[in-house]
């Protein structure tokens, strides 16, 4: 076993930590990407889309099939994966969005849970796991590697991080500088008043569904490479980490959501060297979300009043 020497953090050598920080940030990049996609949709429609991971996983399986069972070019499979996310989300938004528009956020979320379960069932039916078989969806970028702080990074990991930052910056600019973005912000504040002001609510919501779906598709394309196998159940449940990131951003702030995603990835990774903490790594998203929510609401005053009858 390694001896613990030199600069140590709570008893763990700094040298041990460095690769975990690199790996954690890379995974956190995709959590951030997914979290931002969730927040944009929530802002425009009030829907917390828990089918986000399942949509990405289904797109990834289609891309896998195209690459392994057809002679079509790989880039077409990648584009299809991303487009699939956009199309499925758009169709769901067009068909069920209006019906759920006036319902509670919880009801809206349960609707997307239904979509997630349908997609999971379809994937289990057409692409069962098990036996002597596993699927991989490597991207060309993962064959280019370099060493950083004792961990090997590949360009997919760099792209994941870069895409998270670019999406956050781009979406922030889009929401502030374009008419569609302004309309989305208006919807976030008050759907009915925004509609009365002449904003085409359905069309703006459709754009949000489509855009968020594209992000789900992109995450579905990148994640199998990052987690090193195309396991649709793992991909589907990665939405939990993205949800934690979105909650840390209080479903409002894109930049805090991005930071939350990175923090979740980082926390999961740097718990690894601690024997007493490593088994709780999967709980890191929830713990961080709870801590963040408590911290962010520390100065809120809760007022209890009694209404006269």
């Amino acid at each position: 076993m390694h001896s613990v020497v030199g600069f140590a953090i709570f008893g763990v050598d700094w040298e041990f930590f460095k690769p975990y920080i690199v790996l954690g940030l890379a995974l956190g990049g995709v959590y951030a990407l997914s979290g931002v996609g969730l927040v944009v949709l929530y802002q425009a429609t009030g829907v917390l889309n828990v089918a986000f991971g399942a949509i990405g996983a289904a797109g990834a399986l289609i891309a896998y099939w195209m690459i392994n069972h057809t002679s079509w070019p790989h880039w077409l499979a990648y584009v299809t994966c991303v487009a699939f996310g956009g199309v499925v989300n758009l169709v769901y938004g067009l068909v069920f969005g209006p019906a759920f528009a006036a319902r509670d956020p919880l009801v809206k979320m349960m609707g997307t849970l239904g979509l997630a379960l349908i997609l999971l069932g379809l994937m289990a039916w057409r692409a069962p796991v098990g036996g002597a078989f596993a699927r991989f969806l490597p991207l060309p970028s993962s064959s280019h590697t370099f060493e950083l702080f004792g961990a090997f990074m590949n360009w997919t990991q760099v792209i994941a991080l870069g895409l998270a930052v670019a999406l956050t910056a781009g979406t922030t600019a889009f929401l502030r500088l374009t008419n569609l973005g302004t309309a989305m912000r208006g919807l976030a504040n008050n759907r009915e008043i925004t509609g009365m002001l002449g904003v085409p609510v359905r069309r703006v919501e459709a754009a949000a569904w489509f855009g968020s779906g594209l992000v789900a598709g992109a995450a579905g394309l990148i994640l199998p490479d990052l987690i090193t196998s195309l396991d649709y159940s793992a991909l589907t449940f990665l939405v939990i980490a993205a949800l934690a990131a979105a909650l840390i951003g209080r479903l409002r702030s894109l930049w805090v959501t991005m930071a939350g995603g990175l923090a979740v990835g980082l926390a999961q990774a740097i718990f690894a060297p601690y024997a007493s903490l490593t088994r709780y790594r999967s709980a890191a998203p929830f713990v961080l979300a709870i801590i963040a929510l408590l911290w962010l609401s520390r100065r809120r005053v809760v007022t209890i009043t009694r209404t006269a009858r």
Binding site: M1, V87, G131, A132, A151, T228, T278
Partner: protein, 439 residues
């Protein structure tokens, strides 16, 4: 109006696209042939047959056999039951059990004790099965063993947790992760590993990893168990953790099914760790698919294989299994197929040994009487051994490796180190009652 048209147009295009994709996704069913039934003929030292081997379909009243297989994200154990069913299908095409077909009922469970208990009762009390065959789960043995015992059932399946090898009702065709990990640890110690680190799914790690720690202690090297929560979402982190615990020149044992192991092996390649440690594994990754996917590990693996090579030259039972898989299933040759095939084969032998009417009582009595059952898939004959308080009939293994996309033999049959008193006692019983000595 315009927005409605756009909506309909977009929805139509999307549905068409989805339909196209789903249609393409379909992998296509395998064609079946109408040739003479496989597994027919007379059994001999060079030929194995399905049941009676008559080549005639069984048409009588069905004999019901049931099974329960676990299916959760990251692990599919239903393969074992599916292959047992394939063997029964082959038996049914070859005269059945003296003219009566076997109807195999397989239920899936999701690690829910209430569901496991309900399914066992459904099989025994509602479906009226005469026997339980092919059960495999992380926890079902613990949930149901008392119930099966109360009903007089002896289950032939494939075991994972301690109760599968520590209670009287289960007789497994495999030895389970604990003993397979011990075998891998023995191979790594022989190869000069400086330490042993073992990683199993967190659900079973306490039992599955314990034997490795004992092997390391006896060998005088440090060891550690690092349980992994499934499904794996951060393989790179986990593999770094395992490497840092083992240190350069140490040994790492991966105890995962082919659903999960590839993620960790890919991560080991990505992190440049393949040559820095010695790699061991329990049985499930000993198959050609994995060998073809990981040429980077060629010559560098110590996979403990509970069963013989998946090669036709292994012997008549393996040849028959390969033919049964091809005809009756879409399942590729693998360790889980060997477990299911043997479960079906041993249960069929018990059914054929029944004198008179086949009932739950007569079938389970016949199961308990099985001993010295020869198969080329195991190093030693298999047995049940009547009223033993627990059964570990498979306790000799081989070590295999990958080479040019194939699984190849690295070490011939060797005895799993008896670091547990249960295994030491099992070997005493084997000699005393001549359970696997051919006597």
């Amino acid at each position: 109006m315009r927005s409605t048209k756009i909506k309909i147009g977009v929805a139509g295009a999307a549905v068409s696209l989805l339909a196209l994709m789903l249609a393409g996704w379909a992998t296509g069913a395998r064609t079946t042939t109408t040739a003479a039934p496989i597994g027919s003929g007379k059994a001999s030292a060079t030929k194995s047959v399905c049941g009676l081997g008559t080549g005639k379909k069984a048409t009588g009243k069905a004999i019901k056999i049931g099974g329960i297989g676990m299916l959760i994200p990251g692990v599919d154990f239903t393969t074992i039951g599916k292959v047992a069913k394939a063997y029964f299908d082959c038996v049914n095409d070859n005269g059945g059990i003296n003219g009566r077909p076997v109807q195999y009922i397989l239920y899936n469970e999701q690690l829910n004790p209430a569901q496991q208990a309900a399914l066992a009762r459904k099989l025994v009390e509602s479906d009226k099965v005469v026997g339980i065959v092919g059960n495999t789960s992380f926890t079902e043995c613990g949930t149901n063993w008392k119930y099966y015992k109360s009903k007089g059932f002896t289950v032939i399946g494939a075991g994972v947790q301690a109760e599968c090898f520590g209670t009287p009702v289960f007789v497994e065709t495999n030895m389970g992760p604990r003993y397979s990990n011990i075998g891998a640890a023995q191979a790594l110690v022989r190869a000069g590993a400086k330490s042993l680190v073992v990683a199993s799914p967190s659900t079973i790690a306490a039992y599955a990893d314990g034997g490795v720690l004992k092997v390391a202690e006896k060998a005088g090297i440090p060891s550690k168990s690092l349980p992994v929560t499934l499904p794996v979402t951060d393989a790179n982190t986990i593999i770094q953790q395992l490497y840092q615990a083992a240190g350069p020149g140490g040994g790492i044992i991966l105890d995962f099914t082919p659903d999960t192991a590839p993620a960790l092996m890919k991560a080991a390649i990505a992190q440049g760790l393949v040559d820095k440690v010695k790699w061991g594994s329990s049985t499930p990754i000993a198959n050609t698919f994995m060998a073809g996917q990981f040429p980077e590990f060629d010559g560098k693996l110590y996979i403990n294989s509970e069963f013989g090579l998946l090669d036709a030259s292994q012997g008549p039972d393996t040849r028959l299994m390969l033919a049964v898989l091809k005809k009756y299933t879409k399942i590729d040759p693998q360790a889980f197929a060997q477990m299911g095939f043997m479960a079906g084969q041993f249960a069929t032998q018990a059914l054929l040994n029944v004198k008179g009417e086949v009932t739950a009582k007569s079938y389970n009595r016949a199961v308990r009487a099985l001993k010295n059952v020869k198969t080329d898939m195991l190093c030693k004959p298999w047995y049940v051994g009547n009223a033993l308080p627990y059964h570990i009939p498979s306790n000799w293994d081989i070590t295999v490796d990958y080479k040019d996309g194939k699984v190849v033999l690295k070490e011939k049959c060797f005895a799993i180190q008896a670091v547990d008193k249960e295994l030491a006692q099992t070997r005493v019983w084997e000699k005393k009652y001549k359970l696997n000595t051919g006597g």
